[in-house]
Symmetry: C2
Subunit: 386 residues, 2 copies
């Protein structure tokens, strides 16, 4: 659903259910799959025939929440805050979240210009301890900057420590970054990251499955991690103590068939102990962004075909088409030049450039961007001979 | 051959060949295997019918060396320096060196009281960069001390940096340690380790395949590493830059079916880069001695049966029998007490205790040593009922 459209009943139903059902509730996910959104909403509103798998007490709790839910109001509040609701079936829905099965989010609330679907196609999670060491912060920032320079989108949780360093590293390299929050995306958490999260909403994306205004809870933090793991091609854990939440993300990534990746640290550091534990299991050791890209860059089922753009140019949306048109032939241009040529802001240009990157049209080249060989061939209307 | 015995011709022949043939020369190893020591010596002495696989020039070089070889003198010089020559077939020969095939040493020169064969049975190599960081030295010393405390023998190369820290860590924990040198064992190298190597000869073992007085060369350093790898159950690399000699040891260990083990470090450290490279391949990540023992302690084909001593008590040599008799029933005793009870020195007591450890008679218990359960059962002449 784009901002301004009248929501259809399926979308309204999902917004309603997002108020009633906690993230990752697989029992509820099964209701949706078996009965459909409309029927689940009807039963929760009517409060008569209970849905399977819930006890009387839990059912009463759900009904109480259902009684308070105001999906139209949630959508209006969101729209006011520049937040859109992206649901399965929507053009912006990242299809890889379907790998979560019945734990798939009912929908995601999204702040920011870029297409979440396009950005997620070429994304890597960089996560780790909140109370990280200087080494951890340095590694997170350096990895994120290196990933951004290579045209990859950095996904993290917006938290203090490793998460914040990763987001800042990507932003500092003029790159794309996505924060997946465990609360309403209009309600920055932690408070100390209010400014950072605003910048992310301006220059990147801020997403989450909780409705506007909702608070984070311990279980919401843990369940948010499955979204980070599912959205991305792989999860890099930079620093993590034993039993850290980042290990939850890494193990979710593993279960989902994503790459599980760890940055080693001193054997004497308790904040590397969790990473070392992962590395003793199935995670792959990396020491820089090139190592990460070598792993996740091997094109899997999530990737568009690299040999040619998957979308014909005239199917691109107008803003992306304008940015593409602003790229000067074979040489690289800065984001500033491109934004000027496309009559848009630099933040918007970056949003579009990363989408175009996902589609195989453009690539980063040092600080600038240029057309890929495939894109130039398609401009010329020709094809390589072999 | 024990000190003082008249050497047999096979032993004399091997001492002769050790002067003529460089360590690890597989062509020469094949001559020995195919023609026998006596015939290879005869041809090198006679200088008439060349051995297969050598060109005229190389053959001339070998003959020149053969002309200068004085095996009786080498043995006499060695004996004077407290060095014995241990050859395949000898009771002290570590059988696992046979895994080297035609690159098996012709024999090993050994300084120190303990039985190399017994000590090598439960040994681990701890190796790494000469120019290590403080972190590397700390990890080497801590791992070696932890291994020694668990009754394991620490093998290394006697070099500066990680090697020295490992030897000192083991000595500091009252443990057993073996230096495998790339030069004559009577000729400490590096010079700055003269004192350390003397202590190792007193309290541990100093071994090498080069005859008395021989110098190290770059290729001898590299080939020495195969002996370290083959002697031990596994090789732990603590710090190593890319293309470090320690990686040669680790890869040799891998080829020989030994455990290849690495200690992680900061991703930003060039001195951990080689270890990280290993860990990205097949090496196992460890952070402490317990991790190492968990790996190497899983009894392979090199290990004696743990359920009972492999050697009846009366087959033990007299010094070991005296040390065993000095152990007080079920409680642990210090090395000092044991040495007093066995009427020997502490260094000698440690040498015997580690041999007895290899045979399953004793175990370390904190700072002390005690009889194993199996040993007590065998003292009582009984057997466990199940």
């Amino acid at each position: 659903m784009s901002i301004g459209d009248a929501p259809d009943t399926e979308v309204l139903g999902r917004v309603f259910l997002a108020r009633v059902i906690e993230p990752g509730d697989e029992v509820a996910g099964r209701w949706v799959r078996e009965f459909g959104v409309g029927e689940v909403v009807r039963r929760l509103r009517a409060g008569q025939d209970a849905l399977p798998g819930v006890s009387g007490k839990r059912w009463a709790g759900l009904l109480a929440r259902a009684g308070r839910a105001e999906p139209e109001r949630d959508l209006a509040v969101a729209r006011e805050a520049g937040v859109r609701f992206v649901a399965p079936g929507d053009g912006e829905w990242p299809g890889q979240l379907d790998d979560l099965g019945d734990a798939r989010p009912l929908g995601l609330w999204v702040r920011g210009r870029a297409s979440l679907r396009m950005w997620a196609l070429r994304s890597v999670a960089v996560v780790g301890a909140r109370a990280c060491t200087e080494y951890g912060a340095h590694m997170a920032a350096t990895l994120a900057a290196g990933l951004a320079e290579r045209g990859w989108v950095v996904v993290s949780g917006g938290a203090y420590g490793v998460d914040g360093a990763a987001h800042r590293g990507a932003l500092g390299a003029g790159g794309a970054t996505v924060a997946v929050l465990a609360c309403g995306v209009d309600r920055p958490y932690p408070r100390g990251h209010t400014q950072l999260i605003s910048r992310l909403a301006e220059q990147g994306l801020v997403v989450g499955e909780l409705p506007p205004g909702d608070h984070p809870t311990p279980s919401r933090f843990v369940l948010r991690n499955r979204v980070i793991a599912a959205l991305t091609r792989g999860t890099v854990v930079v620093e993590a103590a034993h039993r850290s939440g980042s290990l939850v993300t890494a193990r979710a990534a593993q279960r989902l068939g994503r790459h599980t990746i760890g940055v080693p640290g001193p054997a004497t550091s308790g904040l590397s102990a969790g990473v070392h534990e992962l590395l003793r299991q199935d995670a792959v050791l990396v020491t820089d962004a090139a190592d990460v890209v070598e792993l996740v860059g091997d094109m899997g089922e999530l990737a568009p075909d690299r040999r040619g753009p998957v979308l014909p140019r005239d199917l691109l949306e107008a803003p992306a088409r304008r940015v593409l048109a602003a790229l000067p032939g074979p040489r690289a241009a800065t984001v500033e030049e491109i934004a000027r040529g496309a009559l848009t802001t630099e933040d918007d240009a970056i949003a579009r450039l990363y989408e175009l990157r996902s589609l195989g049209y453009v690539e980063r080249h040092g600080d600038g961007w240029k057309l890929t060989r495939q894109a130039m061939i398609s401009v010329q209307g020709g094809r390589r001979e072999c």
